[in-house]
């Protein structure tokens, strides 16, 4: 759409910054995520430090976290100078990224609760849902059946919320354990890597045998 046209034609011009910033706001309210546009915004901030807008940067980083397991957050931090990243607000975002990447989910939700204002979670619709989705996906790829208590802790859901979640995803619970759907990741399949010999390799041999 029009943002892409702007980026394609005027990527390095700071004139397009207002539109890009507005687009970030739109992504927040629509619960969408556009990595390329956000990276373009960050790049313009990198090249024109006097135009940088820390609110927008914070929003972009939080949106990036919502797109886990993709490593958007990492790509964004490559473009943000140390001077900005060392500020407290960004340090706390870095902290939750760290907790998420090392899968310390219980600690992650605790930290979010403790620092809700600083992180501005209330202003980001869909943040909790997106992260719950990520947590569920990781658990799904690791467990075939997982203790319910553990699951609820990792997902930051109480018993009622948990049953609602399970119901909406078609997962079942029995004996305090949740049975997770089988997929490629949570089955250990012996991969047999066999050797393939290319034809041209063989043809050399064959031709010399023939002569």
């Amino acid at each position: 759409e029009e943002v892409y046209e702007l980026i394609a034609s005027n990527r390095y011009s700071s004139d397009i910054l207002p539109q890009l910033e507005a687009y970030v706001g739109q992504q927040v309210s629509d619960v969408t995520n556009d990595l390329e546009a956000n990276l373009a915004t960050l790049k313009l901030y990198q090249l024109c430090p006097d135009l940088e807008n820390k609110d927008i940067i914070a929003k972009i980083l939080m949106k990036a976290l919502m797109n886990l397991p993709y490593n958007d957050y990492m790509l964004c931090t490559h473009l943000i100078t140390e001077r900005i990243q060392s500020e407290e607000r960004f340090a706390s975002i870095a902290k939750i990224s760290q907790l998420l990447e090392t899968c310390q989910f219980k600690e992650f939700w605790e930290y979010c609760r403790a620092n809700e204002a600083a992180l501005g979670i209330k202003t980001l619709p869909g943040f909790e849902d997106a992260l719950r989705k990520f947590v569920a996906a990781v658990i799904n790829s690791t467990y075939q059946s997982c203790p319910t208590a553990y699951f609820c802790e990792a997902m930051n859901l109480d018993a009622a919320g948990c049953s609602k979640f399970l119901a909406s995803n078609g997962w079942t619970e029995a004996n305090g354990h949740i049975a997770l759907p089988i997929n490629d990741s949570n089955t250990a399949q012996a991969k047999k890597i066999s050797e393939t010999i290319q034809f041209d390799q063989m043809s050399r041999i064959l031709s010399s045998i023939a002569s």
Partner: protein
């Protein structure tokens, strides 16, 4: 394609790695060239007496350029220029353009090209002053403008060897890096220099550099051309609207292509790996014909491609890229042993080998036997330390092999503070890389334990690892999460599908971990084929004698 003869002289210092002076980046050229008394040599000499041999060279070179005699131009550029440099100008600059102008009858085009070589020589053998830097920038603008302003009616009456075109783009970016480093060391700058830097901020402005590269790409319409060539179309000289299709002239096509690689490099230097990969999305990596005409181009492309993948945490892709180019270098090394480029090729080879070792420590993956033995030979110690999670070793490897990142802009505040900012960009990228390393620190130990069992109770594993069950649960999740990465399958380099990339597969059922190792068949076919071919060679050798 041109024969791979001696490369340009500027490589000698660009990749030079002298002892660090404490401020400079570890692998950046040491500033200052000293004469016998330890005084810095001024780039200008007082009197310029041009030897006759050199005069003949100039005349011959200018004629070749005017007559578009590609062979002669190539010969002059590659051989004569370097020979004369060695003989007369190894410690002094070439005659300044004003002196050369009357010798070649004020041939403007030749003078622009000569100035490019003149400044390149100063950067390589001498210490460029701020004026040299500004003048060189203006010259590049003029040269590029000649290309960009070529009228749409017909081809530009100029032809240059591919090696020169590549070197031009390469040197352009190198001088930009050098300028950023120069500018970022505010402490070492005189007041006059600081004033000039702040006033003339259009010189070596990062936007301008990027825009020039983009403009060269657009002029040659390189992306469309690459797409059409992929489909097997032949590029006609007339574009659809009747104007001249610049991409059909080899000069523009190659210049456009090299600019594309230049963009890949620029974006990596600025830390924007996503955009770097996007820049080359139209390049067909499977078809190597465009690259291999200039070896340096091929190696540079793959180096930055692999590095970008690595920083995007796409270790499998990085491993594949590094392996393929290392194999290429190993195979073609013998053709370059006598060329100027040899040293730099070896150096880049070394860099990529250590980066590959780092990637393999973070993501074990099966690679070619030849590459594996090369790693074992050159960096087995480093690799063992990295596999044990030695952070210092990772830092060392990264510092040694990373590109020389640039600080694109200095703010007014920073000018005032008068510090040294050259390392900021590098430190940022290093920090990000080390974050990843630290997050994965505990994983190799877990992996090695898992490999020993087909099933193990979570409590038992926790005891082995001297940790508690909740932490272990987190770490197992982390292992799964970290080994799920984007892998390139087909299409543009940026694309990829999320795939599990671990060498061990496991899952948890209640409190029991079930593990399967991937089995690899013994590969004897390749081994036999290789030895059969070697044997054949020996036999034919013996028979010939």
């Amino acid at each position: 394609a041109f024969p791979e003869v001696s490369g340009s002289m500027q490589y000698a210092d660009y990749y030079d790695e002298p002892e660090t002076s404490g401020y400079d980046l570890p692998n950046f050229r040491m500033e200052g060239h000293l004469d016998l008394e330890g005084e810095p040599i001024d780039a200008e000499m007082d009197s310029f007496v041009v030897p006759d041999v050199v005069k003949t060279f100039f005349v011959g070179f200018a004629t070749a350029v005017k007559e578009q005699n590609l062979q002669d131009i190539h010969f002059n550029y590659e051989n004569n220029f370097n020979k004369l440099t060695e003989r007369y100008y190894s410690k002094a600059s070439w005659p300044p353009p004003e002196v050369v102008s009357p010798i070649v009858g004020d041939d403007k085009m030749f003078l622009l090209l000569y100035k490019e070589l003149y400044y390149r020589h100063i950067y390589s053998k001498l210490q460029p002053t701020i004026d040299h830097r500004f003048e060189s920038w203006e010259n590049y603008c003029e040269v590029f403008n000649v290309f960009l302003d070529a009228p749409a009616t017909g081809p530009l009456p100029l032809t240059l060897p591919n090696q020169w075109l590549w070197d031009m783009v390469d040197e352009f970016i190198y001088q930009f890096q050098s300028f950023c480093q120069f500018r970022a060391k505010i402490k070492a700058r005189t007041e006059e220099e600081i004033r000039l830097l702040q006033e003339q901020d259009s010189f070596w402005n990062v936007y301008s550099v990027l825009n020039y590269l983009e403009a060269l790409c657009k002029k040659a319409n390189i992306n469309t051309i690459l797409d059409r060539e992929k489909n097997g179309d032949i590029i006609a000289a007339k574009a659809e609207d009747g104007s001249f299709e610049f991409g059909s002239q080899p000069l523009f096509k190659m210049l456009g292509f090299f600019s594309l690689i230049g963009l890949l490099r620029m974006h990596c230097l600025l830390g924007d790996y996503y955009l770097a990969l996007k820049a080359i999305e139209h390049v067909d990596l499977k078809n190597k014909s465009m690259f291999t005409c200039v070896t340096a181009c091929y190696i540079t492309t793959y180096y930055y491609l692999g590095f970008a993948y690595m920083m995007m945490r796409r270790y499998v892709d990085a491993i594949k890229v590094f392996s393929s180019v290392l194999l290429f270098i190993a195979r073609t090394k013998q053709h370059h042993t006598r060329s100027y480029q040899f040293e730099q090729i070896i150096k880049k080879n070394d860099h990529m080998l250590t980066l590959l070792a780092a990637c393999l420590s973070l993501c074990p993956y099966r690679i070619d036997e030849d590459v594996h033995s090369a790693i074992r030979e050159k960096c087995s110690e480093k690799m063992t330390r990295m596999q044990n999670g030695d952070e210092v070793q990772f830092e060392e490897v990264f510092t040694h092999a990373c590109p020389k990142f640039v600080v694109p802009v200095i703010t007014a505040q920073e000018y005032q503070d008068g510090g040294i900012y050259g390392q900021e960009a590098y430190k940022l990228q290093l920090k990000s890389f080390m974050h990843e390393v630290r997050q994965q620190q505990l994983l190799p130990t877990i992996r090695s334990y898992l490999k020993l069992y087909t099933s193990i109770d979570i409590q038992k594993l926790a005891t082995f690892l001297e940790t508690d069950v909740p932490s272990l649960r987190n770490q197992l999740l982390c292992l799964k999460h970290k080994t799920l990465s984007l892998v390139w399958v087909d299409g543009p380099p940026l694309s990829g599908t999320l795939l599990p990339c671990s060498d061990i597969d496991f899952y948890l059922d209640k409190d029991m971990i079930h593990i399967t190792d991937s089995k690899t068949e013994r590969r004897f076919g390749e081994f036999f084929i290789r030895h059969i071919s070697k044997f054949e060679e020996i036999i034919s050798d013996v028979q010939r004698k």
